[in-house]
């Protein structure tokens, strides 16, 4: 077991357990946290899971944890692991079952007071138009050929069919279309399960939210991002639906068998992995890229549906109802990236499981419009609480392979959250605060109660103070739609 005493404080917000803390570790384990968040991480098994990831073959520098770390299954949620090409490993568990679960933020020029009279109707229209909820998220079924195109082309497929603009793609990580996808690497079962789920929100912690920018920390960057105090924005948080779940299920099994063939010893079978240059590792990467593309197409389709709902309800009622995509980030993904490690330029596979890419100024992967500033970093809070927009930094490039936190991070199990608060009471509380709530299930609402999560303000403050991303603006919800 790992204990707090294994972690030595390096700076105000950075702790490290040396590679000697436990047998099998190849590199030290690091966590970014203040005292309270570190204590919180000690309450569950997340640090033990972090230390386990330090045993993965080919891991470079450190196994990293962000301040929103919490217990997962295998890898912790809020973890970053970079492995070196060609023979370092890739692990489906380091990405998770909801491949490319991610978030996008759309900005408007609408002010809160202009929208308020129409908010109930708008939330009703969004709830009607964007399928959501457990087992209810059905859309028109894709043909086999269409499915293969979605898997290999992602959001670009959606845009080429009229669901959005080229500018949307410019403002999506990987331009919404990850290279290296091969639909042949995705099982028929995965394709069948997801054929009628494109453009659906799903359930669990996924949401569509209308927020208002309530604080601006960096006026210059905020202005360039199109964020003005008092204006309305839309958050969409969703992933690759059953397609990603099935891809991960298939490959955890396949890579367990492969790992044995390559003589890889692991402390937990859920860490199953294979060398990046092995046929099995390459095949998983090709399938994962497809699932990531499905998720980007999914969020793009929902963006289109949201735009239609905005137009139907607001055209002729307000001066400008248009939704502009600020950015879209993945927070469950593995990417091939170049990073400087000890003065050497290396090609790495960066696993971000519940972590967000946060590239600094000047990086070629940052869209032209923002390149001199750094990548927009989107950190959704828990349902009903504030969310943040940050900007990537050079410090993150040097310390965390260009990564930062992804959200608030759970502190209570879904069951405990349900016991602590009723869905009805939560709905009433949010409605008293002027938040319009639309959900299929009040039980689901309670599972996502803000009390079940770490304080997003505290998590964001740590990454801001540690320099892993810089605060730009904060938003607060006025309309919440939960799956």
């Amino acid at each position: 077991m790992v204990a707090k005493k294994d972690f030595r404080r390096l700076t105000a917000f950075l702790w490290e357990a040396p590679a000697t803390a436990r047998p099998g570790m190849r590199v030290p384990a690091r966590i970014y946290a203040d005292d309270r968040l570190l204590e919180a991480a000690m309450d569950d098994r997340s640090l033990e899971q972090l230390v386990n990831t330090a045993t993965l073959p080919g891991i470079v520098k450190y196994a990293l944890a962000m301040p929103d770390i919490h217990q997962g299954y295998g890898f912790p949620i809020g973890g970053v692991v970079a492995t070196r090409l060609p023979s370092g490993v890739i692990s489906p568990g380091g990405v998770g079952y909801d491949i490319n679960c991610g978030v996008r933020l759309l900005t408007t020029r609408l002010h809160e007071e202009e929208l308020r009279p129409h908010l109930e109707r708008l939330m009703g229209a969004l709830f009607h138009d964007v399928p959501s909820g457990v087992g209810r998220g059905h859309a028109q079924a894709l043909s086999q050929k269409e499915m293969d195109q979605v898997l290999e082309r992602g959001a670009e497929w959606a845009v080429s069919h009229g669901y959005g603009s080229r500018e949307d793609l410019e403002h999506t990580e990987e331009r919404g279309s990850m290279q290296g996808g091969d639909a042949g690497a995705v099982s028929e079962r995965a394709k069948t399960r997801a054929k009628d789920e494109l453009g659906t929100l799903g359930s669990g912690n996924h949401f569509l939210e209308i927020d208002v920018v309530d604080r601006v920390f960096d006026p210059e960057v905020a202005q360039r991002f199109g964020l003005e105090e008092g204006t309305v924005v839309v958050w969409i948080h969703s992933g690759s639906r059953a397609l990603g779940h099935q891809v991960c299920t298939d490959y955890v099994r396949e890579l367990q068998a492969a790992g044995q063939r390559y003589g890889i010893q692991l402390p937990d079978r859920e860490l199953a992995c294979a060398p990046l240059d092995s046929p099995e590792g390459k095949r998983y990467f090709a399938a994962m890229a497809c699932a990531a593309n499905y998720a980007w197409a999914n969020r793009q389709m929902m963006t289109h549906l949201a735009r239609q709902a905005f137009e139907r309800v607001l055209a002729g009622q307000v001066r400008d109802w248009h939704l502009t995509l600020l950015y879209d980030v993945a927070h469950n993904i593995a990417k091939i990236e170049e990073h400087t490690v000890d003065g050497e330029r290396l090609r790495l596979c960066v696993h971000r499981k519940g972590a967000t890419r946060a590239f600094g100024p000047g990086h070629p992967a940052v869209p032209d419009r923002y390149r001199d500033l750094g990548q927009p970093v989107l950190i959704p809070g828990s349902m009903g609480s504030a969310s943040y927009v940050l900007v990537g930094t050079e410090t993150a490039m040097q310390e965390t392979f260009g990564s930062t936190c992804h959200g608030a991070g759970r502190v209570k199990s879904r069951h405990a959250a349900k016991r602590g608060v009723s869905g009805q009471a939560l709905r009433q509380k949010m409605e008293r605060e002027g938040i319009v709530v639309r959900t299929e299930s009040l039980g689901d609402l309670a599972e996502e109660a803000p009390e079940a999560y770490k304080d997003v303000d505290r998590v964001v403050e740590v990454v801001h103070q540690a320099g892993l991303a810089r605060k730009v603006a904060r938003t607060r919800p006025i309309g919440v739609m939960k799956g």
Binding site: D43, D44, S46, H70, Q71, G72, Y73, G74, I77, G96, Y97, D98, V134, G135, R189, T192, R193, G202, S203, G204, A242, H245, Q246, C248, T249, V252, R253, Q256, A257, D268, R269, E270, A272, R410, V411, K412, S413, R414, H415, A416, S441, G443
Partner: protein
């Protein structure tokens, strides 16, 4: 069982087939609520093979999740037979009269071990939900 991010179930059985049935019932009781008086609308045959019992258990639970999703039904009766090494054959009875509570993404291998003592078999399975 308490687990911050996800849901875990503890299952036991006097023998391995019973453990597999109980684990399936435990998982599905989280995922769905069967309507009172639900009638059987279909039956399914499942045949699986895995290198060890733990992998077979995970495969079995994930097979049920996928079948449920594909056919829009859930399972109310299970006849499971196991044979070494790591082979399962099952006959399932399905119903379409149910409500989904939680979308379980998958059964995981996290810290998974099937333990055997004088009373039978016992295990904890962690799910990603």
């Amino acid at each position: 069982m308490p687990h911050t991010a996800d849901v875990a179930i503890e299952a036991w059985g006097r023998d391995l087939p019973e453990l597999f049935v109980h684990a399936a019932q435990g998982m599905l009781s989280l995922a769905v609520t069967v309507e009172p008086g639900a009638t059987v609308t279909a039956s399914r045959e499942v045949s699986l093979e895995a290198p060890d019992w733990e992998a077979l258990l995970v495969d079995w639970l994930n097979e049920l999740l996928a079948l449920q999703d594909e056919h829009g039904e859930t399972y109310v009766a299970f006849d499971v037979s196991l044979s070494a090494p790591g082979q399962l054959r099952a006959h399932l009875q399905a119903t379409q009269a149910y409500r989904l509570n939680v979308a379980i993404k998958a059964a995981t291998f996290h810290n998974l071990a099937i333990r055997h003592d004088e009373r039978g078999y016992r295990t904890v399975v962690v799910f990603d939900v």
